[in-house]
């Protein structure tokens, strides 16, 4: 009974953070700000859902640790895709004075001329 309540709480929090991530994607107004939405959904959102699955497996079946692997691979790959989207955005900003300027007068890897 207590375990079921815990599973339900984890599922609900996972759903909540995934929903907030999607709302962020809709509501925020610049491409870089929008990128912050999905990073939430993929960390705490999916994390809670996987946690719920793991608790259920240990409480009712033999137990399963596949979820740990899913989480590990997700945490390794999610920043890469985020970085790709950010890079595309940086290439579109090329030549505009919008970007933060480096103190030494050096350039960013995506926008350098070479």
């Amino acid at each position: 009974m207590l375990i079921d309540a815990l599973i339900a709480a984890l599922l609900l929090s996972g759903a909540f953070f995934t929903l907030v991530g999607s709302i962020g994607l809709l509501k925020l107004n610049s491409p870089m700000s929008r990128l912050h939405g999905p990073t939430k959904a993929s960390t705490l959102g999916v994390g809670s859902l996987l946690m719920a699955s793991m608790v259920r497996a240990f409480a009712h079946d033999d137990g399963s640790l596949h979820e740990v692997l899913v989480m590990a691979f997700l945490f390794v790959t999610a920043p890469i895709s985020g970085n790709f989207i950010a890079k595309v955005h940086l290439h579109k900003l090329r030549g505009k004075p919008d970007l933060a300027v480096l103190p030494q007068g050096d350039s960013w890897a995506s926008t350098s001329r070479e």
Partner: protein, 163 residues
């Protein structure tokens, strides 16, 4: 001899662990086959990975991972609050330049990944000479505070682990 048999000891340990998790059922046979894979794969891929990443203090990684997971939970709640209740015009998104003391590529990758995983900040680019990281913050009235927190909380610990 040991260097030839185990060109990447950490990779060997990681492969054994991942194999055991993939099989999802602990038996002696799983461990033995995992060990065989853990020895063969690093030898077979050795040519593509000539430098061994140096990790002088790997046990501190556990503390680091625990801190990052805690920060992910706290920052998620904070950012959920911003997304739901703050109007777009009240937000102050900012580019933050984080000068790097880290030099190891693996450590810089981990720092950039950590910054992206903790909500509220996304790492976007590295400077051409590899000495600074470009970070975008969702709501940062004080960009210098964001920079100092990244340096204090994450980079200092990574420096201890990798250098």
């Amino acid at each position: 001899m040991a260097g030839k048999l185990f060109p990447h000891p950490l990779l060997t340990a990681l492969l054994i662990l991942i194999w055991c998790l993939l099989v999802n059922e602990f038996r002696l046979g799983t461990l033995v086959f995992g060990t065989i894979l853990g020895v063969l794969i690093p030898i077979a891929t050795h040519a593509y990975w000539p430098d061994r990443p140096r990790v002088p203090r790997p046990w501190r990684l556990a503390v680091y991972v625990a801190i990052v997971i805690w920060d992910i939970i706290v920052a998620n709640i904070h950012v959920a609050f911003i997304v739901l209740f703050k109007r777009n015009s009240d937000m102050s998104p900012a580019w933050v330049v984080v000068p790097l003391d880290l030099r190891t590529p693996e450590a810089i990758t981990m720092l950039a990944g950590t910054i992206t995983l903790t909500p509220g900040t996304v790492s976007a680019d590295l400077s051409a000479d590899g000495l600074a990281l470009l970070v975008h913050a969702l709501d940062a009235p004080d960009p210098d505070a964001v920079r100092d927190e990244i340096k204090q909380r994450y980079e200092r610990r990574l420096l201890e682990i990798f250098e």
